[in-house]
Symmetry: C2
């Protein structure tokens, strides 16, 4: 099935397997409800962005949208990722769009408020 | 007003003012709805955790809960922040609880799914 654009949830990546597992859990609701979506890591973990773009191209997909699982844009999103995208577009003859980091969407601020409210409720309960 | 425990939303911090502004926006729904809550930075930006604990103590608050605005626990949350907490508890005679990073709460995964769905809708609209 060709799902254009293919959504790629991009996490930083870590050599710590527990770190990656948290991101896999975070990605699950998206992977379950958005056909063809994938998770990829910028560095230090697999699958890499290169792997996911290459697989997509083999499936006939030519447009990709990267949604960064970052709360804010720092050096990685302002410089490193755009550089990787330019190279991947050239090498694989695909079009890649970089969406804003998830933390720039107001939904996230509301989710944080709900997490804090839950934490306060949890603390009120007898141990 | 004494709001015990005082909720502290802890972000990493950055010398890039835009980075901090994103976190201030992310914190706004919580700061608006949880009385006495504050944002603090681990490093590279103000207010520091030390500043916020010290201010709280001056307001008569002795218990604090830190909710990390991190998607997953890496070295900072496993080692650096617990070390800072131990020192702050000793220096200010307060009790500080470290909550799990926001990304370990399933709410966040659902918010990410909603952000992706919005991004796909946005791309479908004529420019």
């Amino acid at each position: 099935m060709n799902h254009d654009p293919r959504i790629i949830l991009l996490a930083h990546g870590s050599s710590d397997r527990r770190w990656c597992q948290t991101f896999e859990k975070l990605a699950t609701p998206t992977l379950d409800s958005v056909p063809g979506s994938r998770i990829a890591y910028m560095e230090l973990a697999e699958p890499s962005l290169e792997t996911i773009i290459s697989e997509g191209k083999n499936d006939g997909i030519t447009t990709f949208t990267i949604v960064p699982l970052f709360l804010a844009a720092g050096r990685h999103l302002r410089k490193d990722v755009p550089g990787m995208i330019e190279e991947l577009q050239d090498n694989h003859d695909v079009t890649i769009t970089l969406a804003p980091p998830i933390g720039e969407n107001p939904q996230l601020g509301n989710a944080i408020r709900d997490v804090v409210t839950q934490e306060l409720e949890r603390q009120k309960q007898p141990a």
